[in-house]
C-alpha cells in the first residue's frame, strides 16, 4: 500500500521535496551519521541533487509516461472535445435557449436543426452545449472542493490517530450511512437548487471517499522514517501533514479526484432527471433526457439519445483518465 504512494506525484522526479527525499534513503545501520536534524539549506540541496541525478535518466516525466497510456489519452481527448463543444460551441453555433417557440416543437433533425428540436422548440444541439456547461462546471468544482477537504480531513485524522481519529472517522461513517441521492433530493426539496448550492451540497456528500482513502495512506505514512526525521528536526504536525503526508498521497488523491468528477456528473444527471436539479430556465442533460422520455413512445429519438449518449461518453472519458492515471502511476512504481 505504501509503495503505491511513494513518488507518485506528477512531476515529482524533477524536484523532490527534502522530506520525501530523505524517506527514500535507507537508515544508516552503524548509526555513525547523526540523525538528519536541521539540515542547512546547502546540505539539503546536496541531498536533493544527489537524489535527483540518477533518477532523472532512469525515469521519464509523468506526462511522458501518461501519453503512452492509450485509454488515458483517449479519455483526455474526449474530455477536451466535450469541453470545447460545450464552451466554444455556442460561439460558432448560435441557438436560442431562452425563448420557447411553439412553431418549432419536436422537429426531426434536418436543415437548420442538425439534431432536431424538443417539445418547447429548443434546438437540441445548442441545448446539449448549454447543458454541458453547468454539468462540467459543477462536477469539476465538486471534485476539487471535495477532494481538497476530504484529503485534508483524512490526513489529519490518520496522522493524529487516537481519539481524534476515532471521532473524525465516525463522523465520516455517519454521513456516508445515508446514500447521497436521498440527502440530495431532500435538500433539493427544502432549498431551491442553484449552482453554488449544488456545488456545496454535492461536495458535502463527496468528501467522504477521499477522506477514508487518504486516512489509510496517512496511517502507513506516519510510521515512515522521513516523518520521524521531520519530527526529530522539530517540524510541527501541520508541517508534516501539509508538506509530507499530503504530497505523498497525491497520486492516490488525484486518481480519486478524476473518478469524483465522473461520479458527480452521473449524480447530477440523475438529480436533474428526477426533477430535483437546477430549475428552469437552466438547462441540464438529465433534464433534457427526462423531458425526452415523455416522447419515447412517439419515436422522437433525437430528444432522448443525444443527451443520454453525451452523459455516458463524458463519464466514460473521465473514468478512462482515472484508469490511465492509475496505470501510469503503477507502471512507474514497477520501473523503479
Amino acid at each position: 500500500m505504501t509503495e503505491t504512494v511513494r513518488g507518485t506525484r506528477p512531476g515529482e522526479d524533477a524536484r523532490p521535496v527534502a522530506g520525501t527525499g530523505l524517506g527514500h534513503r535507507a537508515p544508516d545501520p552503524g548509526g555513525t551519521a547523526p540523525a538528519p536534524v536541521a539540515l542547512t539549506a546547502e546540505e539539503s540541496d546536496v541531498l536533493r541533487t544527489a537524489e535527483a541525478e540518477p533518477r532523472r535518466g532512469r525515469r521519464r516525466s509523468f506526462a511522458a509516461a501518461f501519453v503512452e497510456n492509450r485509454t488515458g489519452v483517449a479519455g483526455l481527448g474526449v474530455v477536451v472535445t466535450v469541453a470545447a463543444f460545450c464552451f466554444l460551441g455556442p460561439l460558432v453555433y448560435h441557438s436560442d435557449q431562452v425563448h420557447a417557440n411553439i412553431a418549432l416543437t419536436n422537429l426531426a433533425p434536418g436543415a437548420g436543426h442538425p439534431l432536431g428540436t424538443d417539445a418547447n422548440g429548443f434546438d437540441i444541439l445548442g441545448r446539449l452545449m448549454v447543458g454541458g456547461q453547468s454539468a462540467l462546471e459543477i462536477s469539476l468544482a465538486v471534485a476539487l472542493v471535495a477532494t481538497c477537504f476530504g484529503a485534508l480531513w483524512g490526513a489529519v485524522s490518520g496522522y493524529t490517530g487516537g481519539a481524534i481519529d476515532a471521532v473524525m472517522m465516525r463522523i465520516v461513517d455517519v454521513v456516508i450511512a445515508v446514500p447521497a441521492i436521498f440527502l440530495l433530493i431532500y435538500l433539493a426539496t427544502v432549498f431551491r437548487p442553484t449552482v453554488p448550492l449544488l456545488i456545496v451540497v454535492l461536495s458535502l456528500l463527496s468528501w467522504l471517499g477521499p477522506a477514508r482513502l487518504v486516512r489509510g495512506e496517512a496511517l502507513s505514512l506516519r510510521t515512515r522514517e522521513f516523518v520521524d526525521a521531520v519530527r526529530a528536526a522539530g517540524g510541527r504536525s501541520s508541517r508534516i501533514v501539509g508538506r509530507h503526508i499530503l504530497p505523498n498521497a497525491l497520486g492516490t488523491i488525484s486518481v480519486n479526484a478524476t473518478f469524483q468528477v465522473a461520479d458527480a456528473i452521473i449524480i447530477l444527471a440523475t438529480l436533474s432527471f428526477l426533477g430535483f436539479g437546477l430549475p428552469p430556465p437552466a438547462v441540464s442533460w438529465g433534464g433534457m433526457l427526462s423531458q425526452g422520455t415523455t416522447y419515447l413512445l412517439d419515436g422522437y429519438w433525437w430528444e432522448v439519445y443525444p443527451a443520454g449518449l453525451i452523459v455516458m461518453v463524458t463519464v466514460v472519458a473521465f473514468n478512462f483518465i482515472g484508469d490511465g492515471l492509475r496505470d501510469t502511476l503503477d507502471a512507474r512504481l514497477r520501473e523503479r
Binding site: 436521498f182 433530493i185 440523475t270 413512445l297 466514460v316 473514468n319
Partner: protein
C-alpha cells in the same frame, strides 16, 4: 473475535446514534417553521401554536431530540400529513416489495458475476476478458436510468416483449404474480450490480490465482477444475462478501432510480413522491431506514470478513 465483534457493535451503535442526530438536524433545517411547512399558508397563529404544542416544538432542542430518539427507538418514524398515515406503516407496507426487487436482482447479479469474474481472471487479457471489462465499464459509466430507458426503448417499445411498467399490485404476492412486468426493472438493477461485482470478483480471483497454494495445488497434479473450485473460488469470495455488505447504499440508490423509471411500488418511489409533495416526515423516515440498512450492511460485511478469513484479527 468476541472482543472485535463487541467493539464493532459499539461502533455501529455510535454511528446509528449519529445518524439520528443528522436526520434530526435535517428536519430542523427546514426554513421558516415546521408548522407552517406542514399546515400550509392559510394556518393562523392559533393553529400554529397548537401544532407546536402538540409536537413539542416549543421545548428546548435537546429535549426535542430526545423525544425524536425515543420515537425512532420505538419504531415510530413520524406521520405523513399528506397521506394521513404513519411512516412506519408505510415502510412496513412497501419494504417487502423492495426486498423482492432487490433480492432477486442481487441473487442474479451474484450468479452471473462470480463465474464471470473467475472466468475473466483465468482467461486474463483474452477476448472474453476484454469484452466483459468493456461492457462493465460502459454499464458502470451510465446513469442507471439511462440503462432502464434503453431497455424500455428496445424491449418494450421496439419489440413488445415486456411491458414498460413494473407490476402495479400493492402486495408482494401481487408483484410476484406478474413476472413479465418484473423482468425489465430486475434486469436493469442486475446489470448495474454485475458491472460492479464482476470487477471485484475478477481482481480478487487474479490475486488468488497468484497465491502459492494455487501453484502448489497445480504442481501436485490437481485437475484444473478442482483447483478452481476448491482453491480459487472460495478464497476469492471473501472480498465479494465484504463488497456485498458495502454495496447497500449503491443498491438503494439504483433502486430508487429504477423504481422511478419503471413506476415500481416500493420505498424508492414513495420517497420520490414524498419529495415531489414536500412530505418531509416520509422523506426523513425513509432516510432513517436507508441509513440503518447501510450501517447494518457494513457491520455484517466486517463481521463476515472476520469469520471467513481467520487470519483477520483486529486487536
Amino acid at each position: 473475535m468476541i472482543g472485535y465483534t463487541l467493539r464493532r457493535l459499539v461502533q455501529a451503535a455510535v454511528v446509528l446514534l449519529g445518524l439520528t442526530v443528522l436526520v434530526f438536524a435535517l428536519e430542523h433545517m427546514i426554513p421558516g417553521n415546521l408548522a407552517r411547512a406542514i399546515l400550509g399558508p392559510r394556518a393562523g397563529p392559533a393553529e400554529i401554536a397548537a401544532f407546536d404544542r402538540l409536537n413539542g416544538l416549543e421545548r428546548p432542542v435537546v429535549s426535542q431530540y430526545l423525544t425524536f430518539l425515543s420515537h425512532v427507538l420505538h419504531g415510530n418514524l413520524g406521520y405523513s400529513y399528506r397521506l394521513n398515515q404513519s411512516v412506519d406503516s408505510l415502510v412496513a407496507h412497501e419494504l417487502p416489495n423492495d426486498l423482492i426487487l432487490v433480492g432477486i436482482a442481487l441473487l442474479l447479479a451474484l450468479a452471473i458475476s462470480i463465474p464471470l469474474g473467475v472466468a475473466q481472471a483465468v482467461r486474463r487479457n483474452r477476448v472474453l476478458d476484454h469484452v466483459a471489462t468493456g461492457v462493465s465499464f460502459l454499464l458502470y459509466s451510465m446513469p442507471s436510468y439511462w440503462l432502464g430507458l434503453l431497455l424500455i426503448a428496445g424491449l418494450a417499445i421496439g419489440v413488445h416483449v415486456f411491458p414498460p411498467e413494473a407490476p402495479q399490485a400493492v402486495s408482494p404476492a401481487g408483484v410476484l404474480a406478474d413476472p413479465r412486468a418484473l423482468v425489465l426493472p430486475v434486469v436493469t438493477l442486475t446489470l448495474v450490480n454485475v458491472a460492479l461485482f464482476a470487477r471485484y470478483m475478477r481482481s480478487a480471483a487474479v490475486d488468488t490465482l497468484a497465491q502459492d497454494y494455487v501453484r502448489l495445488a497445480r504442481a501436485k497434479g490437481l485437475p484444473a477444475r478442482m483447483v478452481l473450485w476448491r482453491h480459487v473460488l472460495g478464497n476469492s469470495l471473501v472480498p465479494v462478501v465484504t463488497l456485498l455488505g458495502l454495496s447497500v447504499p449503491a443498491v438503494l440508490t439504483t433502486g430508487l432510480v429504477v423504481e422511478y423509471v419503471f413506476n415500481f411500488p416500493g420505498l424508492g418511489l414513495t420517497y420520490y413522491n414524498a419529495a415531489v409533495n414536500a412530505d418531509y416526515p416520509v422523506e426523513l423516515g425513509i432516510t432513517v431506514i436507508v441509513g440503518i440498512a447501510t450501517v447494518l450492511g457494513s457491520l455484517l460485511a466486517d463481521l463476515a470478513y472476520a469469520v471467513l478469513d481467520p487470519r483477520v484479527r483486529y486487536d
